[in-house]
Symmetry: C2
């Protein structure tokens, strides 16, 4: 059976494509962290929402994230998702990789819903980059 | 200031070197997951303890893990550690990489202590490997 996190991540990817960030924020914890780019993080829903607006604009409002191969490691109410993240957009992108090996940490809340606590699409590529 | 998780991981690395797995288990959650090798996980402290005994034997009781560059992403009581993990041993190892880009997920318990929930020294290399 497909892991329920796969469906949740699909919904999030669609919300990013549709720029429905209010809906997207339902899938983040209050104190979530998003790695916007190497060297820059957004802390908490308000900052993450703003960051997604800026990311959408950077990609000429045409960003479309998809997940390829995925591996989920689950320990009780905590899950680490390792995922091949594929980004498509109308922008000719040269600065940031459009094919990433992402690391997402999800937490199950008391209602049994999985929420993203750490959203790091850059995966282990961040190692060695100055503190963020 | 150094992040307190760095000191905890140093203690764990030393415990692995000294094969003091009872002490090491103090730093894992009850339902923790350890990726023993690609395709094999240990679930819970009892299995993880056994796995460490097997890993130590595999490396001729001479394993010495060290961390190089590290990046810590923290979201409230959840932290993702991305770390260059360097393994040394007397065994001439050819099957598994001795230089890894690891992903460790830690959770802070109600006493404020960080415990490892997901121990995956293989990082995003697991992507594409059959379900574990």
């Amino acid at each position: 059976m497909e892991h329920e996190l796969k469906e949740i991540i699909r919904k999030c990817d669609l919300a990013i494509k549709q720029e429905d960030f209010d809906f997207l924020m339902n899938y983040y914890t209050e104190d979530a962290v998003l790695v916007v780019k190497p060297g820059m993080v957004a802390n908490g829903k308000a900052e993450i929402n703003k960051a997604f607006i800026a990311i959408a604009a950077y990609f000429k409002n045409s960003i479309e994230p998809k997940q390829g191969e995925m591996m989920i490691l689950e320990a009780g109410d905590t899950a680490l998702v390792l995922s091949q993240t594929l980004l498509a957009s109308d922008k000719e992108e040269t600065t940031y990789s459009m094919e990433r090996k992402a690391t997402y940490v999800f937490r199950k809340n008391t209602e049994g819903e999985w929420l993203c606590a750490i959203d790091n699409s850059y995966g282990t590529e961040l190692i060695g980059i100055d503190k963020i």
